[in-house]
Protein backbone atom coordinates (compact mmCIF):
# COMPACT_ATOMS: atom_id res chain seq x y z
CA UNK A 1 0.00 0.00 0.00
CA UNK A 2 2.72 2.45 0.97
CA UNK A 3 4.58 1.40 -2.15
CA UNK A 4 1.55 2.07 -4.34
CA UNK A 5 1.03 5.47 -2.75
CA UNK A 6 4.68 6.36 -3.24
CA UNK A 7 4.72 5.29 -6.87
CA UNK A 8 1.41 7.05 -7.54
CA UNK A 9 2.91 10.17 -5.98
CA UNK A 10 5.97 9.94 -8.21
CA UNK A 11 3.74 9.69 -11.30
CA UNK A 12 1.55 12.60 -10.18
CA UNK A 13 4.62 14.74 -9.45
CA UNK A 14 6.13 13.90 -12.81
CA UNK A 15 2.89 14.77 -14.61
CA UNK A 16 2.78 18.12 -12.82
CA UNK A 17 6.35 18.89 -13.78
CA UNK A 18 5.45 18.20 -17.40
CA UNK A 19 2.44 20.50 -17.07
CA UNK A 20 4.72 23.17 -15.68
CA UNK A 21 7.31 22.74 -18.43
CA UNK A 22 4.55 22.96 -20.99
CA UNK A 23 3.15 26.12 -19.44
CA UNK A 24 6.58 27.71 -19.96
CA UNK A 25 6.75 26.90 -23.65
CA UNK A 26 4.72 29.34 -25.70
CA UNK A 27 2.99 26.88 -28.01
CA UNK A 28 0.47 28.76 -30.11
CA UNK A 29 -1.29 26.97 -32.91
CA UNK A 30 -3.95 29.65 -33.24
CA UNK A 31 -6.63 27.44 -31.78
CA UNK A 32 -7.42 27.41 -28.09
CA UNK A 33 -6.89 24.07 -26.41
CA UNK A 34 -4.12 22.67 -28.62
CA UNK A 35 -1.16 21.57 -26.58
CA UNK A 36 1.48 18.92 -26.89
CA UNK A 37 0.08 17.29 -23.77
CA UNK A 38 3.39 16.22 -22.28
CA UNK A 39 1.64 15.32 -19.04
CA UNK A 40 -0.31 12.71 -20.98
CA UNK A 41 2.97 10.88 -21.40
CA UNK A 42 2.74 10.00 -17.72
CA UNK A 43 -0.87 8.85 -18.12
CA UNK A 44 -0.12 6.70 -21.19
CA UNK A 45 2.88 5.17 -19.46
CA UNK A 46 0.84 4.67 -16.30
CA UNK A 47 -1.72 2.75 -18.34
CA UNK A 48 0.80 -0.08 -18.46
CA UNK A 49 2.50 0.40 -15.11
CA UNK A 50 -0.18 1.38 -12.60
CA UNK A 51 -3.41 -0.16 -11.40
CA UNK A 52 -6.53 1.46 -12.83
CA UNK A 53 -7.72 3.22 -9.62
CA UNK A 54 -4.21 4.55 -9.01
CA UNK A 55 -3.97 5.81 -12.56
CA UNK A 56 -7.34 7.58 -12.30
CA UNK A 57 -6.23 9.22 -9.08
CA UNK A 58 -2.93 10.33 -10.64
CA UNK A 59 -4.82 11.84 -13.59
CA UNK A 60 -7.29 13.61 -11.30
CA UNK A 61 -4.59 15.03 -9.01
CA UNK A 62 -2.53 16.15 -11.99
CA UNK A 63 -5.42 17.98 -13.66
CA UNK A 64 -6.80 19.60 -10.52
CA UNK A 65 -3.46 20.76 -9.11
CA UNK A 66 -1.92 21.94 -12.38
CA UNK A 67 -5.25 23.54 -13.32
CA UNK A 68 -5.24 25.53 -10.10
CA UNK A 69 -1.56 26.43 -10.46
CA UNK A 70 -1.33 27.27 -14.16
CA UNK A 71 -4.92 27.89 -15.26
CA UNK A 72 -8.27 29.09 -14.01
CA UNK A 73 -11.53 27.48 -12.99
CA UNK A 74 -12.76 27.25 -16.58
CA UNK A 75 -9.62 25.75 -18.04
CA UNK A 76 -9.78 23.31 -15.12
CA UNK A 77 -13.32 22.24 -16.06
CA UNK A 78 -12.34 21.80 -19.72
CA UNK A 79 -9.23 19.82 -18.77
CA UNK A 80 -11.22 17.58 -16.43
CA UNK A 81 -13.70 16.77 -19.20
CA UNK A 82 -10.89 16.16 -21.68
CA UNK A 83 -8.85 14.11 -19.24
CA UNK A 84 -11.83 11.96 -18.28
CA UNK A 85 -12.77 11.26 -21.92
CA UNK A 86 -9.19 10.51 -22.82
CA UNK A 87 -8.55 8.21 -19.87
CA UNK A 88 -11.83 6.36 -20.36
CA UNK A 89 -11.22 5.63 -24.04
CA UNK A 90 -7.62 4.58 -23.39
CA UNK A 91 -8.64 2.22 -20.57
CA UNK A 92 -11.34 0.68 -22.77
CA UNK A 93 -9.00 0.22 -25.74
CA UNK A 94 -6.29 -1.20 -23.50
CA UNK A 95 -8.83 -3.59 -21.97
CA UNK A 96 -9.62 -5.09 -25.38
CA UNK A 97 -5.99 -6.17 -25.63
CA UNK A 98 -5.99 -5.59 -29.38
CA UNK A 99 -4.28 -2.22 -29.73
CA UNK A 100 -0.69 -1.10 -29.40
CA UNK A 101 0.38 1.84 -27.29
CA UNK A 102 0.55 4.04 -30.40
CA UNK A 103 -3.09 3.91 -31.40
CA UNK A 104 -4.23 3.94 -27.77
CA UNK A 105 -2.29 7.18 -27.33
CA UNK A 106 -3.67 8.62 -30.59
CA UNK A 107 -7.25 7.88 -29.50
CA UNK A 108 -6.44 9.40 -26.10
CA UNK A 109 -5.19 12.59 -27.75
CA UNK A 110 -8.24 12.89 -29.98
CA UNK A 111 -10.71 12.23 -27.16
CA UNK A 112 -8.94 14.65 -24.85
CA UNK A 113 -9.53 17.42 -27.35
CA UNK A 114 -13.10 16.27 -28.04
CA UNK A 115 -14.01 16.27 -24.35
CA UNK A 116 -12.35 19.62 -23.85
CA UNK A 117 -14.11 21.39 -26.72
CA UNK A 118 -17.47 19.80 -25.85
CA UNK A 119 -17.16 21.03 -22.27
CA UNK A 120 -16.13 24.50 -23.45
CA UNK A 121 -19.03 24.71 -25.91
CA UNK A 122 -21.47 23.56 -23.23
CA UNK A 123 -20.18 25.83 -20.45
CA UNK A 124 -19.86 28.98 -22.57
CA UNK A 125 -22.88 28.15 -24.78
CA UNK A 126 -20.82 29.05 -27.83
CA UNK A 127 -21.79 26.42 -30.43
CA UNK A 128 -19.43 27.83 -33.08
CA UNK A 129 -16.58 26.40 -30.99
CA UNK A 130 -17.48 23.09 -32.60
CA UNK A 131 -15.94 24.50 -35.79
CA UNK A 132 -12.62 23.71 -34.15
CA UNK A 133 -13.49 20.00 -34.01
CA UNK A 134 -11.59 18.89 -37.13
CA UNK A 135 -8.48 20.89 -36.25
CA UNK A 136 -8.58 19.60 -32.69
CA UNK A 137 -9.03 16.02 -33.83
CA UNK A 138 -6.12 16.32 -36.26
CA UNK A 139 -3.97 17.93 -33.60
CA UNK A 140 -4.96 15.23 -31.12
CA UNK A 141 -3.84 12.55 -33.55
CA UNK A 142 -0.45 14.16 -34.10
CA UNK A 143 0.27 14.89 -30.44
CA UNK A 144 -1.15 11.47 -29.47
CA UNK A 145 1.19 9.74 -31.93
CA UNK A 146 4.20 11.67 -30.59
CA UNK A 147 3.29 10.84 -27.00
CA UNK A 148 2.73 7.22 -28.01
CA UNK A 149 6.20 6.94 -29.51
CA UNK A 150 7.86 8.49 -26.46
CA UNK A 151 5.75 6.32 -24.12
CA UNK A 152 6.80 3.18 -26.00
CA UNK A 153 10.46 4.09 -25.44
CA UNK A 154 9.89 4.66 -21.74
CA UNK A 155 7.86 1.47 -21.36
CA UNK A 156 10.44 -0.67 -23.13
CA UNK A 157 13.04 0.47 -20.62
CA UNK A 158 10.66 -0.30 -17.76
CA UNK A 159 9.70 -3.71 -19.06
CA UNK A 160 13.32 -4.70 -19.60
CA UNK A 161 14.85 -3.46 -16.42
CA UNK A 162 12.57 -2.65 -13.58
CA UNK A 163 9.10 -4.05 -13.87
CA UNK A 164 9.38 -5.69 -10.49
CA UNK A 165 9.95 -2.28 -8.99
CA UNK A 166 6.27 -1.52 -9.47
CA UNK A 167 4.68 -4.68 -8.09
Amino acid sequence: MARRAAIGGVFAALAMIFSYVESLIPFHFGVPGIKLGLANLVIVTGLYLLRIPDLCLVALIRIVVSGLLFGNIYSLIYSLAGGACSLLIMLLLKKTGKFSVYSISIAGGVFHNLGQIAAAAAVTRIPVLLYYLPVLMGAGMITGALIGVIASRVLKIFFHSSKQFLH
Partner: protein
Protein backbone atom coordinates in the same frame (compact mmCIF):
# COMPACT_ATOMS: atom_id res chain seq x y z
CA UNK B 1 2.34 -10.10 -20.66
CA UNK B 2 0.05 -12.42 -18.78
CA UNK B 3 -2.28 -13.52 -21.55
CA UNK B 4 -0.97 -14.95 -24.79
CA UNK B 5 -3.55 -13.35 -27.01
CA UNK B 6 -2.82 -9.79 -25.91
CA UNK B 7 -1.32 -7.72 -28.69
CA UNK B 8 2.28 -6.58 -28.46
CA UNK B 9 1.99 -3.00 -27.20
CA UNK B 10 5.02 -1.95 -29.25
CA UNK B 11 4.05 -3.39 -32.60
CA UNK B 12 1.60 -1.65 -34.90
CA UNK B 13 -1.11 -4.14 -35.87
CA UNK B 14 -4.16 -4.06 -38.11
CA UNK B 15 -6.45 -2.91 -35.30
CA UNK B 16 -4.24 0.12 -34.82
CA UNK B 17 -4.53 0.96 -38.48
CA UNK B 18 -8.31 0.53 -38.46
CA UNK B 19 -8.70 2.71 -35.36
CA UNK B 20 -6.40 5.45 -36.63
CA UNK B 21 -8.06 5.45 -40.05
CA UNK B 22 -11.48 5.68 -38.41
CA UNK B 23 -10.40 8.68 -36.35
CA UNK B 24 -8.90 10.37 -39.41
CA UNK B 25 -12.08 9.65 -41.37
CA UNK B 26 -14.18 11.19 -38.60
CA UNK B 27 -12.05 14.34 -38.74
CA UNK B 28 -12.39 14.52 -42.52
CA UNK B 29 -16.17 14.06 -42.28
CA UNK B 30 -16.27 16.98 -39.83
CA UNK B 31 -14.32 19.15 -42.27
CA UNK B 32 -16.71 18.28 -45.10
CA UNK B 33 -19.79 18.84 -42.95
CA UNK B 34 -18.61 22.21 -41.69
CA UNK B 35 -16.95 23.64 -44.76
CA UNK B 36 -18.01 21.57 -47.75
CA UNK B 37 -21.61 22.67 -48.20
CA UNK B 38 -21.26 26.17 -47.03
CA UNK B 39 -21.07 29.48 -48.82
CA UNK B 40 -17.71 31.10 -48.15
CA UNK B 41 -18.10 34.32 -50.13
CA UNK B 42 -17.68 37.74 -48.53
CA UNK B 43 -20.23 38.43 -45.82
CA UNK B 44 -22.41 41.48 -45.26
CA UNK B 45 -22.96 41.61 -41.50
CA UNK B 46 -21.22 40.62 -38.33
CA UNK B 47 -23.11 39.32 -35.34
CA UNK B 48 -21.49 39.89 -31.99
CA UNK B 49 -22.53 37.64 -29.14
CA UNK B 50 -21.53 38.09 -25.52
CA UNK B 51 -22.11 35.25 -23.06
CA UNK B 52 -24.57 33.55 -25.45
CA UNK B 53 -26.66 36.72 -25.78
CA UNK B 54 -26.78 38.71 -28.98
CA UNK B 55 -24.93 41.97 -28.48
CA UNK B 56 -25.60 43.43 -31.89
CA UNK B 57 -25.50 42.96 -35.63
CA UNK B 58 -23.34 45.41 -37.56
CA UNK B 59 -22.91 46.12 -41.26
CA UNK B 60 -19.46 45.38 -42.60
CA UNK B 61 -19.76 48.44 -44.87
CA UNK B 62 -19.93 50.78 -41.86
CA UNK B 63 -16.53 51.32 -40.23
CA UNK B 64 -16.91 51.30 -36.48
CA UNK B 65 -15.14 50.30 -33.31
CA UNK B 66 -17.14 48.37 -30.76
CA UNK B 67 -15.96 48.30 -27.20
CA UNK B 68 -17.31 45.47 -25.07
CA UNK B 69 -16.85 45.69 -21.33
CA UNK B 70 -18.06 42.85 -19.14
CA UNK B 71 -17.24 41.35 -15.77
CA UNK B 72 -14.98 38.90 -17.57
CA UNK B 73 -12.92 41.54 -19.35
CA UNK B 74 -12.71 44.03 -22.18
CA UNK B 75 -12.63 43.61 -25.94
CA UNK B 76 -12.32 46.10 -28.76
CA UNK B 77 -13.66 44.97 -32.13
CA UNK B 78 -13.04 46.98 -35.26
CA UNK B 79 -15.00 46.94 -38.50
CA UNK B 80 -13.05 48.48 -41.38
CA UNK B 81 -12.68 47.74 -45.11
CA UNK B 82 -15.38 45.06 -44.83
CA UNK B 83 -13.24 43.20 -42.32
CA UNK B 84 -13.72 42.48 -38.65
CA UNK B 85 -10.70 42.42 -36.35
CA UNK B 86 -10.29 41.95 -32.63
CA UNK B 87 -8.08 44.96 -31.95
CA UNK B 88 -7.70 44.67 -28.22
CA UNK B 89 -8.57 42.09 -25.59
CA UNK B 90 -7.29 41.70 -22.07
CA UNK B 91 -7.87 37.95 -22.02
CA UNK B 92 -4.95 35.77 -20.92
CA UNK B 93 -4.47 33.79 -24.14
CA UNK B 94 -4.97 36.41 -26.87
CA UNK B 95 -6.08 33.90 -29.50
CA UNK B 96 -8.83 36.28 -30.60
CA UNK B 97 -6.33 39.03 -31.49
CA UNK B 98 -3.97 36.63 -33.23
CA UNK B 99 -6.85 35.34 -35.33
CA UNK B 100 -6.57 38.50 -37.48
CA UNK B 101 -9.22 39.98 -39.74
CA UNK B 102 -12.26 37.95 -40.89
CA UNK B 103 -14.70 38.75 -43.69
CA UNK B 104 -16.15 35.53 -45.13
CA UNK B 105 -19.53 34.05 -44.27
CA UNK B 106 -19.29 31.73 -41.30
CA UNK B 107 -15.88 33.03 -40.18
CA UNK B 108 -15.68 33.57 -36.46
CA UNK B 109 -13.49 35.20 -33.88
CA UNK B 110 -13.95 33.64 -30.47
CA UNK B 111 -12.62 35.15 -27.28
CA UNK B 112 -13.27 32.13 -25.11
CA UNK B 113 -12.28 33.57 -21.70
CA UNK B 114 -14.61 36.56 -22.21
CA UNK B 115 -17.24 34.57 -24.12
CA UNK B 116 -17.25 37.12 -26.93
CA UNK B 117 -17.98 35.84 -30.43
CA UNK B 118 -17.95 37.73 -33.72
CA UNK B 119 -19.49 35.82 -36.58
CA UNK B 120 -19.79 36.91 -40.20
CA UNK B 121 -23.28 36.68 -41.69
CA UNK B 122 -24.46 36.74 -45.29
CA UNK B 123 -26.71 39.49 -46.65
CA UNK B 124 -29.82 37.55 -45.61
CA UNK B 125 -28.49 37.11 -42.10
CA UNK B 126 -27.30 33.52 -42.19
CA UNK B 127 -23.97 32.19 -41.07
CA UNK B 128 -24.09 28.43 -40.84
CA UNK B 129 -25.94 25.35 -39.74
CA UNK B 130 -25.26 26.09 -36.06
CA UNK B 131 -27.89 28.82 -36.35
CA UNK B 132 -30.46 26.09 -36.40
CA UNK B 133 -28.88 24.25 -33.48
CA UNK B 134 -28.57 27.43 -31.45
CA UNK B 135 -32.25 28.35 -31.75
Amino acid sequence: MKKRKEADPFRINRYDIILTAALAAAAVICVILFAGFHDTSEGAFVRITVDAEEYGIYELSQPVQIRIETDRGNNLIQIRDHQVTMLEADCPDGYCIRKGPISRIGDTIVCLPHRVVAEILSADGHADEFDVIAQ
